[in-house]
């Protein structure tokens, strides 16, 4: 009896831990009777499909492709970094036409698997294949999907600076802030663009920046937020994933404003989140799948930016005045036309 109970406890553990790693089942789109279905596999990063950001956006791109293009897609979640190579290999062996890896942490895993399967196409979001020595080695079968985060940061920076300058609503201290998870390039590019916009639009506005040293821990984000708010910040831009949700919560508790990142985070705290800097991972995934379908797949660096709808800004809250919103729309157009080139290095550290 005891043994049976002990066993069922163990079994329950295994079932529960596997449940969260279960793969989505491939579903045929079946909408078009002609042509051959392409097989597409998506491997997420350790954040999981419900990270409300990167992985969930990539998955949206996959689902959109499944609905609109003649493709059969499936997705596998990585629970730890050691899963990257087996997950990518599984899809390559399954004769997928395109295997997509989410996140720059997969750079080495993509290199390992793509060199073994030269006939399979790969794409990696936010990274490029990197060999064991840490050197970038572009491969003829790998597309590197990069984003101009500084452009998205610039656009939301225009909104923040306009509101700070005109002292709109709770933004009375003419001070705007940002918080990154870690000082790594994709994070710092957002912050660089944000600061560049503030310096351009409203040179007198004070700028602060900090790092939570974490992409998961909400309490760390809240502490940085409280510290920034105590120093007069009333517009807080988060670039720290789950930890950044804490930064938004700090703004909400203090009755000041926040700006979301990557995905549209308006629903996280309505009335607090004035807009979001969008990195359209869904667009990048969809476009890349479509490029395989059309035979226009391009190995090496692919840039997603203002010119190809790769970046943008999210829902704008009602508190944002029309002139700030118009300025952001204008900035997006000016970046797309090349009139403005946002900086990509952080000025206020």
């Amino acid at each position: 009896m005891k043994r049976i109970l002990a066993f069922s406890l163990l079994a329950a553990t295994i079932v529960a831990s596997c449940a969260s790693t279960s793969t989505g089942t491939p579903q045929a789109s079946g909408s078009s009777p002609t042509g051959q279905h392409l097989k597409i596999g998506l491997v997420t990063d350790i954040g999981g499909l419900n990270d409300k950001s990167f992985n969930s956006l990539a998955d949206q791109g996959r689902q959109q492709a499944q609905a609109q293009l003649l493709v059969v897609t499936s997705v596998t979640e990585s629970k730890q970094q050691a899963d990257y190579v087996p997950n990518l290999t599984k899809y390559a062996q399954d004769k997928n036409d395109l295997v997509i890896g989410v996140g720059f942490l997969m750079q080495n895993a993509i290199w390992k698997v793509a060199t073994q399967f030269p006939n399979v196409k790969f794409a990696i979001i936010d990274g490029a294949p990197t060999d064991d020595a840490g050197a970038v080695k572009n491969l003829p079968n790998v597309a590197n999907l990069f984003f101009k985060e500084q452009e998205a940061g610039y656009i939301v920076g225009v909104i923040a600076a306009t509101m700070a300058k005109n002292k709109v609503g709770a933004a009375i201290h003419n001070t705007v802030c940002s918080m990154g998870g870690l000082p790594i390039p994709p994070v710092d590019r957002y912050i660089a663009g944000y600061q560049d916009a503030v310096k351009t639009v409203s040179p007198t506005t004070k700028i602060l920046n900090g790092y939570s040293q974490d992409f998961v821990d909400q309490q760390k984000g809240i502490e940085i937020g409280k510290s920034h708010i105590a120093q007069g910040c009333d517009i807080l831009f988060q670039v720290a994933g789950g930890s950044g949700l804490g930064y938004i919560q700090a703004a909400k508790a203090a009755g000041v404003y926040a700006i979301g990142v990557d995905a549209d985070q308006a629903a996280v705290a309505p009335g607090t989140v004035i807009t979001s800097a969008l990195k359209k991972v869904d667009v990048a995934v969809f476009q890349t799948i479509r490029s395989v379908r059309l035979g226009t797949f391009k190995a090496g660096d692919n840039s997603f930016n203002a010119t190809n709808d790769g970046i943008g800004f999210g829902t704008v809250d009602a508190i944002v005045p029309a002139d700030a919103k118009a300025a952001a729309t204008q900035a997006l157009a000016d970046i797309a036309s090349g009139k403005i080139t946002p900086k990509d290095t952080v000025q206020v550290k």
Binding site: K2, L5, A6, L9, L10, A12, T13, A16, S17, C18, A19, S20, G48, L49, N50, D51, K52, S56, P183, L208, G210, Y211, Q213, D214, V216, D217, Q218, Q219, K220, I222, E223, I224, K226, S227, A230, G242, L245, G246, Q249, K252, A267, V268, A269, P270, K349
Partner: protein, 315 residues
């Protein structure tokens, strides 16, 4: 760098906020190990406390029900550990680790099933802060403790109460006897199994209160794995605090202070050189090593800690 950045009132306030979840986990660990059961499933109890507190807050809009659900969830996870380690006499580390994985898998899975990619609702009922308005005029103190969450104060009360309980009451003496020499305790009529069950269940509920603090008191939401290892840091604080509630609180405050400094010192310069944020991130750990090496000396675990107990004559 200024004194304000090192010992300012806001740094002390942050220290208390950051120490509270660690201290509650450490308190749970202390209660369990004092009875002779190692419970490394504290992290898991904390996480299910975070999650089920939020779920019931969302469904019932009643903070008391939400808190009760959080404690019950932590307690139930601990009950599995108690059954495995006391009744089945399984390896306590293996059982604890399995339950941590269970808690992470279960909460991640249910979070996705229930809240999908949109996240938990933004209008959750929450545990409020306690605004001590009479402290407002007092410099330093008002900022440091005037706006702490209710659970911070409950945690401090629990530390005092459990310190008295363990070391000043008969039941506390029996509790500790079971952890030091269960056979001797049993010969004088103490029910070792019942005592250990009570201890493990209490530890799960205490850790879950720490979890409820994070999700219902601080973040007002749930995100996957949001405890971020605080249950394990709590175990370190327990050892560092020499298996006493007051010691555990002291150790947690040091961890909390290190974390608070890594926020307050951002942007600080020493002799014109900026302190790198990566270095500041290591502060909590450096402080811990210094404290353990310099001040604590050797700490001794309860003699029967982690050893399954077999009743005499029971083969």
């Amino acid at each position: 760098m200024t004194w304000e950045m090192l010992v300012g009132a806001s740094v002390l306030a942050a220290t208390l906020r950051l120490a509270t979840p660690i201290a509650l986990a450490a308190l749970g660990g202390t209660m369990s190990e004092r009875s002779g059961v190692v419970n490394i499933a504290l992290e898991g109890s904390m996480l299910v406390g975070c999650f089920f507190g939020v779920v019931v807050a969302d469904r019932s809009h009643n903070i008391w029900l939400a808190l009760a659900a959080a404690l019950l969830a932590g307690l139930l996870l601990a009950a599995l550990h108690a059954y495995a380690s006391i009744t089945l006499r399984a390896d306590q580390i293996v059982s604890g680790m399995a339950l941590n994985i269970l808690a992470l898998g279960l909460t991640t899975y249910l979070d996705y099933e229930m809240y999908g990619t949109t996240g938990t609702p933004s209008d959750l009922v929450a545990v409020p802060d306690l605004h001590l308005t009479f402290l407002n005029g007092i410099p330093y103190v008002g900022t440091a403790i005037g706006d702490q969450n209710w659970i911070v104060w409950v945690g401090l009360l629990l530390v005092a109460a459990l310190q008295v309980f363990l070391f000043r009451t008969v039941l506390g003496l029996r509790w500790r006897a079971v952890g030091e020499h269960p056979r001797a305790a049993e010969t004088v009529g103490v029910n070792v199994r019942r005592m250990r069950y009570a201890a493990v269940l209490a530890s799960g509920a205490l850790a879950a209160l720490g979890g409820a603090y994070l999700s219902l008191g601080v973040a007002h939401s749930f995100t996957d794995g949001m405890t971020g290892g605080r249950g394990f840091i709590g175990l370190a604080a327990m050892i560092f605090g020499r298996w006493t509630p007051v010691g555990a609180l002291g150790a947690s405050l040091i961890f909390g202070y290190g974390n608070a400094l890594s926020t307050s010192l951002q942007g600080a310069t020493v002799g014109g050189v900026r302190l790198p944020v990566q270095l500041l991130g290591t502060l909590p750990y450096i402080l811990t090593i210094l404290a353990v090496a310099g001040f604590v000396g050797r700490s001794r675990a309860p003699a029967a800690d982690g050893l399954p107990y077999e009743t005499e004559g029971h083969a």
